[in-house]
Symmetry: C2
Subunit: 241 residues, 2 copies
């Protein structure tokens, strides 16, 4: 994607709030939302994650895709604790696919997707948007409970009872998770077909804070590398050592 947009003007397309973390999955999701004819409004969270690299990446990506607006919402989940992603636990490294498939990893952040989707719902109501796009995936990394289809269906049902716009019949929230049934290799294939430049993205949980290089050994790096290998191509981002 080089910032070019479909010929239809942004104001004529249905609005969609797109959760954008700066990672591979959410960037692909943004490209799919645009390809499906939606006017994207990107939403990023600074929630006390270990590093700011993904927020910088998200800004670059949002600009490159010419989103209607890019909002970065701040709050601090570190005060609650309970996760490796917010610095409380250690990010696991070098795990095998079998190990990743067992149990819910330490990188789980309590209720994170529920909080993210709740803010998306608030913004969707103000924008008059019926659509929320999110890059959840239930195949690779199925450990997270708030990435499962039954959770997402329950959130959608709750959302349509929550807002003034929904109750007044002016809003019908649909949560779109176009990656939910794709493997990492399939996600990358889909994104490449849409022209996504994956050199803009960060997936690493624990990148080098000076160089921005990915660690290559956390679950997110291992899955990403496997996804590129599955397509027979090199990952365009830099890895440490």
């Amino acid at each position: 994607m080089d910032g070019s947009m479909p010929s239809q003007h942004i104001s004529e397309r249905p609005k969609a709030v797109v959760l954008l973390s700066g990672g591979l999955d959410s960037t692909t999701t943004l490209a799919i939302a645009i390809e499906e004819g939606f006017a994207p409004y990107a939403l990023t969270f600074r929630y006390g994650q270990r590093h700011e690299i993904e927020i910088d990446k998200a800004r670059t990506i949002a600009r490159s895709f010419s989103v209607g607006q890019h909002m970065v919402v701040d709050f601090d989940l570190r005060t609650f604790g309970g996760s490796a992603l917010t610095g409380d636990l250690v990010v696991p490294k070098g795990r095998s696919a079998d190990e990743m498939a067992t149990g819910i990893p330490a990188t789980y952040v309590p209720a994170r997707n529920t909080i993210f989707l709740s803010f998306a719902l608030a913004w969707a109501e103000v924008l008059g948007a019926n659509h929320i796009f999110a890059g959840m995936n239930a195949i690779d990394y199925s450990g997270y409970p708030d990435c499962r289809p039954e959770y997402l269906a329950a959130f959608e049902r709750m959302a349509n009872l929550a807002t003034k716009a929904a109750v007044e019949g002016k809003q019908n929230i649909q949560i779109h998770t176009p990656l939910i049934q794709l493997s990492k290799a399939e996600i990358i294939r889909r994104g490449l077909a849409l022209g996504v430049d994956y050199s803009m993205t960060n997936s690493c949980y624990d990148p080098d804070l000076t160089t921005g290089a990915a660690c290559g050994r956390c679950d997110a790096c291992l899955l990403r590398l496997k996804g590129f290998a599955g397509n027979g191509i090199a990952d365009p981002i830099a890895y440490a050592e």
Copy 2:
């Protein structure tokens, strides 16, 4: 309540996250949670509301009730807009009961309770708490969609699919809204019976920022005054003029 606790030690009682705004309803809810034998953990939000008075009140109330912990979470819903409570619209004044009963007021904040309950869910998971108490009320002020029992049931269902603890069978979230079917007069009667000192609370949407005096004319003030009048007693807080 003068800070005295039930004789059972706090660590032996089941933990409950209690949403505490510093208002009459949430303070009564906190007193009820304690009376029902829960160890309360109070959660307050600084979300860009028009004034800080209610946060100061919440701190005083939390201290007075000797809660296990009081957390104030910061984020700014003003960036989304769409509400009189975050400064975007005008707070309506002097409305009749009939006017209040018609439609959803401008003080509605998009998806606010969903965001609040999502943070409560995150904290409940980290605390190992099964219980969330919230002061929603469906009788007086029935305009807010996210105060209705059907919304709350849908949130609870979603919550029990969302967390690692729930999926692992270690958590069964219950949302308690003990005020849901009470009138304002009944809420005050219940609180007074539990020894709640309502002089600690603020309900006003638009208090005098210098004196802290309530305006006496917004919907929240009118309902509160009616509630005290219904008990034949004076509201202990100061009102402007």
